[in-house]
């Protein structure tokens, strides 16, 4: 059964999401999402393509406004927050975008230095030292002078991670941090994420559908549904609880099973969402070429 009740972890939550709903036109992308993220958690949001993971993350970082519901970060309601207050709050968290989102006009080192220049009074020498340290942490020593266009996708992602960590924020959001990375680099990024929570005590919220990463780094996990359960939390818990979760869509997703099956309520599972109806196969060559 879909569940959207807050988890029961004790202690003051860093993030509280309550009954979050978001419509795009007539389409409901997020439907009554509620959860809490506690200090030190590596909170993983997983689910199939189009389930609303990235939309949820955009609501958490305050770049999207929900149709209804509440989001509290560090105890402050951000859905009704004024722009200036939100700006101030944003200084307390870092964000790693799926594409890296490095500023193309700046070098890698300048990108990492940017939050330090903007939000601290450190002198240039100290900023330079911090930037070198951050780049070393992500294995990019010697690449600081390069422009983002001169480095690989994996390096961009690591540079973006270094930028997200520049101010040592207590909260870090990460959108598909390992997408497009080779297995070794995936492990490196996962290790960096683990180090963040274990050594620095940061709280990390990760959106991913990389199951290896999910169980390697996650301490709390939620899964968003697709199809009839679009945008609802269909499972949440610890990695062990998720692995043992009875929901067939969860098991199908974890096992990467293309066949899957239907649950008691006749829910369409992930495969059907992926493959769609027969109409998706009816493309004509001329129609596609005429659009190019």
């Amino acid at each position: 059964m879909p569940s959207s009740t807050p988890d029961s972890t004790v202690g003051e939550p860093i993030i509280e999401v309550d009954s979050l709903v978001r419509h795009f036109g007539t389409q409901k992308v997020l439907d009554g999402v509620s959860f809490k993220v506690h200090a030190g958690d590596t909170f993983v949001i997983m689910g199939g393509s189009g389930c609303g993971k990235s939309t949820l993350l955009r609501h958490l970082i305050g770049t999207e406004k929900p149709t209804s519901g509440s989001i509290k970060i560090f105890g402050q309601e951000i859905t009704t927050m004024r722009a200036e207050a939100l700006q101030k709050l944003r200084g307390r968290y870092g964000m790693l975008f799926q594409s890296g989102a490095l500023l193309q006009s700046l070098t890698v080192a300048e990108n990492v230095a940017l939050p330090l220049i903007e939000h601290t009074q450190l002198d240039a020498g100290l900023i330079d030292t911090v930037v070198k340290m951050k780049l070393e942490q992500v294995g990019l020593t010697g690449h600081g002078h390069k422009k983002p266009s001169e480095i690989s996708g994996g390096m961009k992602k690591r540079a973006a991670l270094a930028r997200a960590l520049a101010l040592d924020p207590p909260l870090v959001f990460s959108d598909e941090p390992t997408a497009g990375l080779d297995p070794i680099m995936t492990a490196v990024v996962d290790e960096l994420t683990q180090r963040l929570t274990q050594k620095i005590g940061a709280t990390v919220v990760v959106v991913t559908h990389d199951m290896n990463s999910v169980f390697r780094i996650g301490t709390r996990i939620i899964m968003l549904g697709t199809g009839p359960n679009q945008g609802r939390i269909i499972a949440q818990g610890t990695p062990e609880e998720i692995k043992a979760h009875p929901h067939p869509a969860v098991q199908q997703f974890i096992n990467g099973d293309p066949e899957g099956g239907a649950d008691d309520s006749g829910e369409l599972l992930y495969r059907e969402t992926l493959l769609g109806s027969n109409e998706t196969g009816r493309y004509s060559r001329s129609a596609i070429l005429s659009k190019s």
Binding site: Q87, G91, G94, F97, Q98, A101, L103, E118, R163
Partner: protein, 248 residues
């Protein structure tokens, strides 16, 4: 259309805040960024403006000389060249050059930043895109458009001098004195006012369309085209309105 207008006026409202209120709340203009944009938007447009203004000055002098020669009145060529350039052609042609070269570039750059999440990244880093991206471009355009116009006037006058001196055999002193004879300070003021208004229109339209791009590379391409078309139409309409205002 209504959505685009709403986005445009929202940007203008934000811009007013960041231009006139934010500096008094500890958020000063980014002077370094503004200089960088002055170079990109203005200085790099100098060669193209110069070539265009020169050809216009030359053509204006040739065409007017051909007609005025029939009346034996080629003496009026310098005045016709100067008044046409200062009141109408220099502000308008400079605006067209800036739209094609710099306005389109601003839209494409901001649009690409939007689709590659760079603008969102700035927001999340608590760096307001208005302060980082828009205000420097606005200031650069408002400073450089009148300067480019003045520069175009000089180069256009030089083009007129080429024909007047080498083809109509006027002395340089005669050309200059007659060119200035038909121009009042008010004309220069109107020309510069026009260029300032054009600058505001071009940069605000380019930024508004660029910041609201969606749909990846195709969206950036469409937005750039739309920015050029809307800017051109707006400048032509504004020119007609301003000319009518000062004509009567």
């Amino acid at each position: 259309m209504i959505v685009a207008l709403r986005q445009y006026f929202a940007l203008c409202g934000d811009l007013l805040y960041w231009l006139f209120a934010a500096p008094f709340r500890g958020k000063p203009w980014r002077i370094g960024h503004t200089f960088a944009q002055i170079v990109r938007i203005g200085v790099h447009a100098v060669p193209m403006s110069a070539l265009t203004a020169l050809t216009i000055g030359v053509v204006l002098a040739m065409q007017s000389a051909a007609q005025l020669a029939k009346l034996g009145a080629t003496v009026y060529v310098p005045g016709l060249v100067s008044s046409s350039l200062i009141r109408e052609l220099a502000p308008l042609v400079t605006a067209v050059i800036v739209i094609g070269r710099s306005g389109s570039s601003v839209t494409a750059e901001l649009g690409t930043m939007k689709v590659s999440e760079e603008i969102e990244a700035l927001e999340v880093m608590a760096i307001p895109p208005m302060s980082w991206l828009i205000v420097p471009r606005f200031l650069a355009m408002v400073i450089m458009m009148p300067l480019l116009t003045v520069f175009s006037i000089y180069v256009g006058l030089a083009g007129g001098w080429l024909i007047s001196h080498y083809s109509l055999h006027m002395s340089t002193a005669f050309y200059v004195s007659h060119a200035l004879q038909y121009v009042e300070l008010r004309d220069v003021g109107i020309g510069l006012l026009k260029s300032g208004v054009f600058g505001v229109l071009v940069v605000t339209i380019a930024c508004s369309i660029g910041l609201n791009v969606s749909g990846g590379a195709e969206g950036v391409g469409l937005a750039t085209t739309r920015s050029v078309v809307v800017s051109l139409l707006s400048v032509f309409i504004a020119n007609a309105v301003l000319t009518a205002l000062f004509f009567f």
